[in-house]
Symmetry: C2
Subunit: 635 residues, 2 copies
């Protein structure tokens, strides 16, 4: 089961398509301007300027965080997908900008292949002296991903050659051989990038380097501990948590890991590489580690929205069932990593169930990370927001009640952009003779083997009409746990709902055939495991893969006082965002307190009837600052 080229999956309608157009029309141009330090009211990023200085095109010093280069790489990756998807429509400005970026990166590359503006400009003799914190391999990984994407999108090999020169250099530098550095990335993602580079070029040395990075990690003596002992070693970051081995998942060899710990983005990028390697090498040990880690993440440490990372301290996983709604970190990038890991688990196992997690993370946390204007972003994804507390309680300082225009550490905006642009890759797959629909998005699929059109308003609409055009052989339609198919028809004739490895299979389709599926999108209550103590007595509302939330904009002040009706009976209307998005309304109650002043009072509140309006979590915080809660009290 492989993904298809993005160009063969054109989204045609619905929220994901609208978000892709937003990325094309608003997000990429806006980010281009930000990376060029020319957006009024946004602090200079210095990203492009650093490259220009490193390339000898400008004078000056490096400014910004050590991993700043990666912002440009992720922008380039998103731009590549945009060009691949939108073809001529994007050719004008964007393609020229992207070519300019590719040339700039190449000019910033050293003769040996090394690229990193921070070290080149600030610490030319410091390369790889601080693998734990220096992020050179992290930036490299994002470059590799971007280069592969851009070459696939445009056929232009220049950036791929740039990437390969860097990767070749890394392959010489790293390893356990004589004169090599026995280290590995402090922030994983090089592994994923190297695997893609191998797949794009056929050069197995890249795969071997990725394997080495995973195999070497966590061995004793601990590389990062040794690194800190070397003369001249300097910390780049102050926070002590960064120096703990678990933070970077180097506390034990990855193949022995069973629990999701440490920095959530690092973790999920690593698990993604492990799943890739398990598939490519057939390692049963890696496969078992991946299975256990997936279970640990999704059944013990993941929010209903697909947010992961329960604490701001180290942006990290904590312990099983520790899922506070208010102090949560839930970095947007971590949910991107979760999508990556889950999709790779599906590829590794051939099981469709993993796409439930892809949908959960994408439709809630990732889409929720960007405003409907495309110019504001969330880094942190809370499930309960009280703006006054966010401002007044330092323990909530990381939780912003409104999206921000940019960040000093700006990993999320470009990560969200590249993920939205590449959602087609997640939605559709194929093996030799079967087209897999993992996520039913409205799209036109056209390859040399398949040509079908999907008509649906999913995740808001509950029907799918799939028209077989010139080509298709067998179809596998994923049976989701979040939005189960309750009826399946081929040319009007009902078919049994028997799923095999998570897919309803329709063999032998012919041109002109029409497949219709009805999804159960009945709104439902979802409760947490009883050990998630803050949520006992409360429920969230889901409709298909979408998590809903109550906002002050719809419900007035005091949304904590709302109480859901005993059964999930909702009416629907379009949300403020229009375009077929669905708000849910129910007749619930609101707690009304006899004493409106006393901090502690003896009289229980009365319950008065109240209409409760819920909107999809991915649309929250688009109408100014206000309270928000995903979990509401039950009677």
């Amino acid at each position: 089961m492989k993904s298809l080229p993005l160009s063969s999956i054109q989204l045609t309608e619905g929220l994901p398509q609208r978000m892709q157009r937003l990325v094309k029309d608003q997000v990429l141009p806006y980010q281009w301007d930000v990376l060029h330090d020319r957006v009024t009211g946004v602090a200079p990023s210095h990203c492009i300027e650093n490259f220009r200085i490193a390339a000898g095109l400008a004078q000056g010093e490096h400014h910004g965080v050590v991993f700043l280069d990666s912002d440009l790489y992720k922008w380039l990756e998103a731009a590549a997908y945009c060009i691949e998807l939108f073809g001529a429509e994007a050719q004008q400005g964007l393609a020229a900008q992207a070519d300019e970026v590719c040339a700039l990166i190449a000019q910033a590359q050293g003769p040996d292949g090394y690229i990193n503006t921070y070290y080149t400009l600030k610490e030319p003799h410091g390369r790889f002296t601080n693998l734990q914190q220096g992020h050179e391999l992290y930036c490299a990984g994002h470059l590799f991903e971007a280069a592969v994407a851009y070459c696939q999108a445009t056929g232009k090999r220049a950036i791929l050659d740039t990437a390969c020169r860097f990767a070749d250099y890394l392959a010489r530098v790293f390893g356990t051989g004589e004169g090599q550095l026995p280290g590995y990335p402090g922030h994983q993602v090089a592994e994923v990038g190297l695997i893609k580079l191998c797949q794009a070029t056929g050069n197995r040395s890249y795969l071997e380097l990725a394997e080495y990075f995973i195999a070497q990690r966590g061995k004793q003596p601990h590389y990062f501990a040794q690194e800190r002992q070397r003369p001249g070693y300097k910390d780049i970051f102050d926070a002590p948590v960064i120096r703990t081995p678990a933070y970077s998942q180097s506390h034990m060899e990855p193949v022995r890991q069973r629990e999701a710990v440490g920095h959530a983005v690092r973790a999920l990028y690593m698990y993604s590489a492990m799943a890739d390697l398990a598939a490519l090498t057939g390692s049963e040990a890696l496969r078992q580690a991946c299975g256990a880690l997936y279970h640990s993440v999704t059944q013990r440490r993941m929010y209903i929205t697909g947010a992961v990372g329960s604490t701001e301290c180290g942006e990290s996983f904590t312990v099983d069932f520790d899922l506070p709604n208010d102090t949560v970190y839930g970095e947007s990038c971590a949910s991107v990593g979760l999508m990556m890991f889950a999709a790779r688990m599906a590829a590794l196992t051939g099981e469709g169930q993993y796409y439930d997690t892809v949908e959960r993370a994408f439709f809630n946390q990732v889409l929720g990370g960007i405003s409907q204007t495309g110019r504001e972003f969330f880094y942190v994804g809370p499930l309960a927001v009280n703006p006054a507390a966010c401002r007044g309680n330092p323990g909530l300082a990381h939780v912003k009640p409104v999206r921000q225009r940019w960040f000093d550490v700006a990993c999320c905006p470009t990560n969200i952009a590249r993920t939205i642009m590449s959602i087609g890759r997640y939605a559709v797959g194929a093996d030799e003779d079967t087209l897999y629909i993992h996520i039913p998005l409205a799209c036109q699929i056209r390859t040399d083997r398949f040509a079908v059109a999907l008509h649906t308003q999913y995740p808001f609409g509950d029907t799918l009409r799939l028209q077989v055009q010139e080509r298709v052989q067998n179809l596998a339609l994923r049976q989701s746990a979040l939005a189960p198919i309750k009826a399946l028809l081929v040319n009007g004739e009902a078919r049994p709902l028997v799923a095999l490895r998570g897919y309803l299979r329709l063999p032998g389709l012919r041109p002109g055939d029409v497949v219709e599926a009805a999804y159960d999108l009945t709104p439902r209550y979802v409760v947490s495991h009883p050990k998630v103590t803050a949520n006992v007595g409360k429920a969230a509302v889901m409709r298909g893969p979408l998590v809903y939330c109550a906002e002050q904009a719809d419900n007035g002040e005091g949304i904590a006082c709302l109480r859901l009706p005993p059964v999930a009976a909702f009416t629907q209307r379009e949300t403020f965002a229009g375009a077929g998005t669905v708000a849910l309304m129910a007749q619930g109650t609101r707690a009304v307190f006899a004493d409106r002043e006393a901090l502690h009072q003896d009289q229980l509140p009365a319950q008065e009837p109240a209409v409760i309006t819920l909107i999809p979590y991915c649309l929250w915080a688009n109408r100014g600052e206000g309270e928000m809660q995903v979990y509401l009290n039950l009677p």
Copy 2:
């Protein structure tokens, strides 16, 4: 309305008396050993050793935090109360130890009167160069309080003379005159100590220095900001919050302050001094500030247990209604400060209502700060504890599921000890011809004007029998909002329940008269203001002034799943602690989940009958580690 000498109020039974005996028999000897670095398993305190080195009796360096001297002063104050209360019984060992301490302090005193082992040993030329962080005036304040207490207890003037020499020195050093330092304490308490010193000696210069400290605070240019600009200035503490003016309530002049902000202990010690000064100087402006600050604390920023300080960051107040149960700080010392402030507000206004806050803080948070063995202490007072989360989530690292044997910063244990020992001063007061019973504790009161015996098991028992012995004139029995008197009899004859300024007044009592009062200790639900979002849909249970909580030891794992019955119908039994302490039991329900594994599940839990057992919050965490919650779900 003044307090009576402690020696005239002998507690005779009940929990407070038991806790006083515990302090005498266990706490003071244990703390004596800890301060002498001779308790196995407890890291050396260095407290006494620092004094010995400063006194020239030993060789070595200063070790420990900059404010370590204050631990010994608070121990001495507690010892003084113990000697005053227990007379001959305590004379043996304790009096000799206390005399030794007094001599040691005097020997550590410089010829100019200055005492501080940290600066004397580590920074002899650094006196008063870091008022914001150096804590010299904080230590001085605790010395003054201890000296007054010891002189009152024993009649020995030596330590009072020592204190006065120090205070005289401070009066020369500080002020706005030529050559004086226009500074003020970084951590308040000197003000309270100076006022006591004035009252004990009649020397008004101490009162004037306290007035100056309050008047000078917060003026511009900001003293602490200027201090940091001086050549050679060094920070003692790293945390940036410490350098914010609000942290030390120096963001504006105290008389203009209306909201409780910053470090909670500093705040409440300062408000206490302000209330003292308002009473002593008649300042209407200070009185208004005190009233507003009291309202801000108790009606906007105080937990039901009398805990204050919603965040660990700066051990500080946050904003109105921000009262998280789990991430709370709620330092024991802050609740001691709250008792001090509230009692002074009662003295300032003549209103009894303020003693509701004294009772709330004492019977819950302060008594809960010490174990039933007297050898373990809480620094932080949470209202919800999940031990796994406390260990695994760094945002809860300050919350300990079990009391600790000691602390690096050990302000709380001795503060709790001195407060328990002096509770008689809070419980009883007098003006020229009236005896005030603020808190009905079982005791024998005997002065030249009053001689009465109070028989009660309060706060557990609901009756008071007061026998007029040889002397009493008028009695004022406080009518509490937490445990209202529902029947009042004199010699069996009912009296009207008409409270004047918070007191039921019984004039003209004669020897042999018997006053009986019945308190309403019916268990009741108490809910939070709706803006305390985490508590909507939940209630705490109170009985009189006692807050109750559910512990895992009684209710098994998963106490978050408990649901209280619709009305507060409880049966009673004695708790594990015996001695008339009351546990409450109710027939509630427990949420039982169909799926015991899934993190997110669609089926609402069933409610099964369950007996819920609650114990007083002040007795929690005496049976090993486990879950605890004050607020439980309501139907």
